[in-house]
């Protein structure tokens, strides 16, 4: 009499309830198994309809047996043992299939997860090598507005290409400096590399007109580059610091010229920066003006807007300083020295970008 109950697998062990909550697919298995079309929407009803449908009469008699189990089988067994056995076997089969499906699904998830990690690693590798892969995308502060601005979208695309060309030029400089090359070839390579930087300043000028804050914030650069940001780009005097250690032999005149350039660069930077600070100060004053309790009303909004427009000229002037510093270095140095300097500069930025990648992935789980 009680033998059938040992074959009956309690719902908890089957573990079918949880999966059904989450994965609708298992519900389908049960729908087909429960030929009577019992409801599968809530797990609790899965087995009950089976029993009730079959043994509605018996259930009322079961209570007298004293077993609290809602799937009381003992009474039914005596009446329709085969049907019960068949139903139990079907349930077992359904449970087994459910387990297999769950296993397959979990395996799928695992594979996708590994693929995702792999893709992220590829992306980081590409970034390390300096390929621009949309640095602006993974910064949450950007929002939709930047990508909606056509001027900025165009700039980001151009910058991606600029980085690729930059990397190519750095490779070329490296190869050429290791091998034998004529001064004429070297000179044209140096000219092209310089022109490439000047092209970036032109691009930035157009982007600043579209959205000066985008350029000022350096959102188009990697995180480590942004740390060193000075009015929308690198500090001109830093450029000299990066280049100088690579010039082993310099004439006295060169040493003097570089020394003077360093000083005038510093003075120009200081003056420009103080002008920027004054702009910030007057803008803050402008925004702070206004009666108490007037909310976000700006009394002199036109004047405030004018100051923001002035920011564009500061960004342009900063790039002008960069342009002139590069130009002067080119004038002071020999062609070979200039080539080495440009290689050093390019590799410096490559390393900054690689550092940004390393930093971004430092908490990644090892696969």
């Amino acid at each position: 009499m009680n033998s059938t109950s040992t074959h009956f697998v309690p719902p908890s062990r089957v573990g079918i309830y949880e999966p059904l909550h989450q994965f609708g697919m298992w519900g389908e298995t049960f729908k087909s198994n429960i030929g009577n079309g019992g409801s599968v929407n809530t797990p609790n009803h899965i087995l009950i309809p089976n029993i009730q449908k079959l043994d509605n009469n018996n259930l009322s008699e079961d209570t007298s047996h004293g077993t609290p189990h809602m799937f009381d089988q003992e009474a039914s067994t005596s009446r329709h043992p085969d049907k019960i056995q068949r139903r139990l076997a079907q349930n077992r089969e359904a449970a087994r299939k459910s387990r297999l499906r769950k296993k397959a699904y979990v395996q799928q998830l695992e594979t996708s997860r590994l693929k995702l990690i792999q893709l992220e690693q590829e992306l980081d590798r590409a970034r390390q090598q300096g390929f621009y892969v949309g640095n602006g995308i993974d910064t949450s502060s950007l929002g939709l507005s930047e990508t909606m601005n056509p001027g900025i979208a165009a700039f980001e695309m151009k910058y991606g290409h600029w980085i690729e060309e930059q990397n190519r030029q750095i490779c070329e400089l490296r190869t050429v400096l290791h091998g034998h090359v004529t001064d004429v070839e070297l000179r044209s390579l140096v000219e092209n590399t310089m022109k490439h930087y000047f092209e970036l300043f032109r691009m930035k000028s157009a982007a600043a007109k579209a959205d000066v804050f985008f350029v000022m914030s350096g959102m188009w650069r990697t995180s480590a580059e942004r740390f060193f940001l000075w009015i929308g780009g690198f500090r001109p005097s830093d450029l000299l610091k990066v280049l100088l250690p690579h010039f082993d032999v310099m004439t006295d005149q060169q040493v003097l010229d570089v020394c003077n350039l360093r000083q005038s660069c510093q003075q120009a930077e200081d003056a420009l920066y103080q002008g920027m600070e004054k702009l910030q100060h007057t803008l803050a004053e402008c925004v702070a003006r206004g009666g108490l309790g007037e909310g976000n009303y700006i009394p002199q909004v036109n004047s405030a807007m004018e100051r923001l427009e002035a920011l564009v000229s500061f960004v342009n002037q900063a790039d002008h300083l960069r342009h002139e510093t590069l130009q002067q270095m080119h004038r002071i140095l020999t062609t070979r020295q200039a080539a080495r300097g440009l290689l050093a500069l390019g590799e410096y930025f490559q390393r900054l970008r690689a550092l940004s990648s390393s930093w971004a992935t430092r908490h990644r789980e090892p696969t």
Binding site: S264, D270, A271, H320
Partner: protein
Amino acid sequence: MDKVMRMSSEKGVVIFTKSSCCLCYTVQILFRDLRVQPTIHEIDNDPDCREIEKALLRIGCSTAVPAVFVGGKLVGSTNEVMSLHLSGSLVPLIKPYQSLLYQAN
């Protein structure tokens, strides 16, 4: 324009500025650091402001303000001043007007 001619040919370094222009402030800071005390003409308070601006542009200044004159001759605006300075040509130009006693902070 006579007024501009007169003002620009004053001795030493003359700079036309506007009180709201922060690049003008930049140029002033630079000259101060070079130990020069330029004569500043703030044109936004001048009734002939518009005329002066037009005249400065006509003379060949890339932007009306700041307009820098050294010894009566037009040097230019911010761009020109910066280029001159980085090439080392600005200091020789203003040498006669550099103060030995006035120390920049």
